[in-house]
Structures are given as C-alpha cells and as structure tokens.
C-alpha cells in the first residue's frame, strides 16, 4: 500500500522573495511549524473532529482530502481561528492560533473580494502605511499587475482567485491555508492555478495546508496527503514524486488510485507500481 513515512522534500531552499519588503513587526523567513494535539470540535450533536493529532513541518505542503462533511474544512477553519476548538490544542510557530493570526492567511473557496475596492485595494486590504508598492508587487507575482485598477466585477473566476492569492501573499504569511480555492474553476484555469500556487509556494517557502476533494490535485501539489474520515485522520501518505509532477507519471497514477480507493472504501484496483 501507500508509504506512511514522511517524504523527503527536495524543494530548493526558500529564495529571497521579491520584493524584499518586510512589514514592520513581522518575522519573515520560511514556513511556520504547526502542531495539533487531540483536536475536537462538535456542532450541536454532530462530532465533526474527533481527536486529531498532527505535526506539519515548516515549509511542507499538506493536502487534506476526504468526503464532503468529513471535517476537513473545519480543521482549516480551526487553524485560521474562525472557529474555536472544543478540546485540544493548536500551536502555529509555537504560539496560539490567536497569536499566530498575523502570520496565517486563509484563501476561501470563493474569492471573497470586496466588490467596492479596485483590484489593488483588495490586495492591500488590511495593510497600512505605504502599501501600494507592496500590493502591486504581490499582483505582479500572480501575473495580474495590469488589472490593478479594475473592479473585481469585471474579472473572470480564475482572475479573482489570483487576486485572492495575491491578497493572501501580500503579508508574507508563514502558514497559508487553502480551503478548496480552485474547486469552482474550469479544468484549464485550475491547472494554471495549481502551477501558480506551487510556484509561489516554492519561492516563498510558507507551510501550506490545502483542503480539496480532488485527489489528483492533492497528489499534484502536496508533500503529504492526509485523509480524514468521520472526524479522524485515517491515512497519512507521503508523496515522494519529483516536482513539477506529471499527471501521466506511473507513480502519480498509482498514488492517486490508492488514495481514491481508500476514500471510496474499496480495495485498491491495481497494485502495480505500488511499493
């Protein structure tokens, strides 16, 4: 079956990020480690998370897959501080979620751009001081510098998510949480966005947690794929394929097939190519 060891990341060391602008009072530099201990969350009588314990190494790209309602989005919202756990602890960079808010950014399933702010203003949301050059640089990173003065209403779905990505990157987060941000995009835009997310992650070196229902996307991007079922982590799969990954690669297909079979509760259809 799939290997349960942690994959060795062969990603280059985080590059010096353009632009070299650090926000005052913020530490830049690499991803934040995340430690989750015995995390529980219930909504009414429904136990959404039932004791989740995990460690994310700094700079790792983690994908969380599972059926709808398995608790994967709740896990992300707990990490983002949008929900409070009933029990258990989360440490981001050794500190509480509240203390880690400044270094954590969340990308939502819908772009959630403010329609009354132009693209540049959306990217610079929450920044103070001379934020325009910083926001413009973040827009350049996602390839939308030319749309800085447009209203969000005239952008396509993919462009909106690019702006949302720039907005998340502008504060140089050390933990980026992605709540199925590519779920609503068409297939081609989706592949482009996956490449973009991978590129910025390789450059910026943040720890990334991607929630997705698309197993291929998880295998494409992640160092580690976590499967959640009924509020528990049921599998932890290291993805040891060289980047950038090719979907046609036999190792890719085998991993994807194995994880899918597990999610569907079936024995793996073919054992070829598996260790």
């Amino acid at each position: 079956m799939v290997a349960l060891t942690e994959g060795v990341s062969e990603r280059p060391a985080p590059l010096a990020r353009a632009p070299a602008v650090a926000l005052p009072g913020e530490q830049t530099g690499g991803g934040a480690p995340v430690a989750i201990r015995g995390l529980r969350k219930a909504f009414g009588a429904l136990d959404v998370l039932r004791g989740v314990t995990l460690d994310f190494r700094p700079g790792d790209f983690i994908a969380v897959v599972g059926r709808s309602g398995c608790g994967k989005s709740t896990l992300l919202r707990l990490l983002a501080g949008l929900e409070r756990p009933d029990d258990g602890e989360i440490a981001i960079n050794g500190r509480s979620v509240t203390a880690g808010k400044g270094i954590t950014r969340l990308m939502f399933q819908d772009a959630r751009l403010l329609p009354w702010q132009r693209v540049l203003g959306n990217v610079g949301l929450g920044l103070t001081g001379d934020w325009r050059p910083i926001a413009r640089a973040a827009l350049r990173e996602v390839g939308l510098e030319g749309r800085a003065d447009d209203w969000p209403a005239v952008l396509s779905g993919g462009q909106r998510q690019r702006v949302a990505l720039a907005r998340a990157l502008v504060t140089r987060p050390r933990l980026l949480l992605l709540d199925e941000p590519l779920g609503a995009l068409d297939a081609l835009t989706r592949i482009e966005m996956q490449e973009l997310v991978e590129t910025v992650w390789r450059h910026a070196g943040f720890t990334a947690v991607l929630v997705t229902h698309d197993v291929a996307e998880a295998v494409q991007l992640a160092d580690r794929v976590l499967m959640i079922d009924h509020g528990r982590v049921v599998a932890d799969v290291a993805v040891d394929l060289p980047r950038p990954r090719e979907r046609g690669h036999p190792g890719f297909a085998a991993l994807e097939g194995g994880i899918l079979a597990r999610l569907l509760g079936r024995p793996a259809a073919n054992d070829q190519g598996e260790k």
Partner: protein
C-alpha cells in the same frame, strides 16, 4: 450631423417628448378659450407670473426658505434614521431594544401628527423641521438597517481574518456594503421630504412656497398657484437627480452602474 450624434440627441429628447406635448396642447386649448383661465391659466401666463415673482424677489425669498427647511429636516431626520439603522443593524441587543418601538412609530402616518405638532410648536420653524425629520427618518432607517443586515457574512469573515476590526472594518466593509441600500433610502426620503414640507407649509405657515401658493389662492391668482406646483415638480426632479449623482459616484464598483 452623424447618425450616432442624432441617435444620442433623440435619446436625450425622448423623456421630454410627453411634457412638451402636454404644454403645447394646454397652451393651444387655453388660447382657443376652451379652458377658463381662472381654473387653469395658460402656460404663457404661468411663465409671466413666474417672471414677475422673480423680479419682485418673492420667489427667491420663499424658495430659499423652503429649501432651508427641507435641508434642515432632511439632515436631522436622516442622521437619526442612519444612526438608528446602523446601531440596530450591528448590535442585536440594540435591535431588540429599539426595533419594536421604531416600527410602532413608523406605522403612524406622520402627517396625522400635524394637529399635535401645531399645538406643540405653533406654526413656527420647529413644526416643519419636526415633521420633515420624522418623515425622512424611516426610509433611511429601514434601508440602512436592511443594508447592514444583508451584507455578505463571508466578506466580513474574510476581512476579520485579514486583520480588519472596529472602525476599519466599518469603513472598508460594512458601510460600503450597506451603501446601495442606504442610497435607495435616501431617494425615498427625498420624495417624502418634499411631500411633508408642502403639506406643512400649505396648512400652517407664513413663508415658503406652500405659503405662497395658499396666499395666491386667497387672491384667485391661479397662475401663481400653478407656478408653485411646477416649482415642486422641478425641485423634486433636482433632488432625485442629485441622489442619482451620488449613486453614480459612490456605486461605481457596482455592475449596474458601470
């Protein structure tokens, strides 16, 4: 003239087609003696009456007073309605405390208060200010409240998770999100503002356009009465145009205004 220019001119002229035709027919009937000038003076007589009122300074005097009353009442009532809508929209506690009372007062036709208002304030400025403010308050209250309540929760959640809170959250997310609805309230309120003022000035006043009209009635100056009525139509149109201008300015981001 190119076809495009002609088309634009035609489009600009179209809204005025009916009013202008009505004027022409009216003048024709009056000139032919088919309408008694005591019941309905001819347009030309109305224009002449307006001209002499302007020359005597009477028109400007009354117009100025009416405008000042309208503006003062609008500002006072609008501010109260806006603040109340804001507080009730944001705070569930304030909502529970105030909303029932506000709804009860809202359902009293404010013009029914006129006898009471005259007893309270006489026919002075306070009476008009009170009535206009009371009338203007509710559409602005309701639309501010509704605007704030209907803001996309996801946007507020996003803004909070991106570090906005308090005043910055209000200015950057809540207020602009509620603004389309608030401006609808402003347009409603402007209509109510004129209506209230006309009634208040007609019933109890010693100045203003309403007074001018009532005074002219006593002397059977039908042309002056018509001037006053047309003036209200014009003022209403101007107020609505200003409100539209605000909408275009503030809602440029909105797909409906692009």
């Amino acid at each position: 003239m190119s076809a495009a220019v002609r088309q634009r001119a035609a489009a600009a002229a179209l809204p005025w087609l009916l009013p202008v035709t009505a004027l022409v027919v009216w003048q024709g009937l009056a000139s032919a003696g088919l309408i008694s000038s005591r019941l309905m003076p001819a347009p030309v007589d109305v224009v002449l009456a307006a001209y002499s009122l302007i020359l005597s300074g009477e028109l400007v005097h009354h117009l100025g007073i009416s405008l000042a009353r309208a503006a003062a009442g609008f500002v006072v009532g609008g501010a109260i309605g806006f603040l109340l809508g804001l507080v009730n929209g944001i705070s569930p506690l304030a909502d529970r405390l105030f909303d029932t009372s506000v709804q009860m007062i809202r359902n009293i036709p404010h013009l029914a208060m006129i006898p009471l208002v005259i007893l309270w304030f006489g026919i002075g400025e306070e009476a008009k200010l009170f009535l206009v403010a009371l009338g203007v308050m509710f559409p602005i209250y309701l639309n501010t409240y509704h605007g704030i309540r209907s803001i996309d929760r996801g946007l507020i959640e996003m803004a909070e998770s991106y570090g906005l809170s308090g005043w910055r959250l209000f200015v950057q997310v809540i207020l602009p999100g509620a603004l389309p609805s608030i401006l609808v309230g402003v347009r409603f309120a402007l209509g109510i503002m004129w209506l209230t003022l006309i009634v208040a000035e007609t019933i109890s006043s010693s100045s203003g356009i309403g007074y001018m009209a009532m005074n002219a009635r006593e002397f059977l100056q039908t042309d002056v009465v018509v001037v006053a009525i047309l003036l209200y139509a014009l003022l209403g149109k101007i107020a609505d145009s200003v409100a539209r201008l605000f909408e275009r300015g503030f809602l440029r981001w909105h797909p409906s205004y692009q």
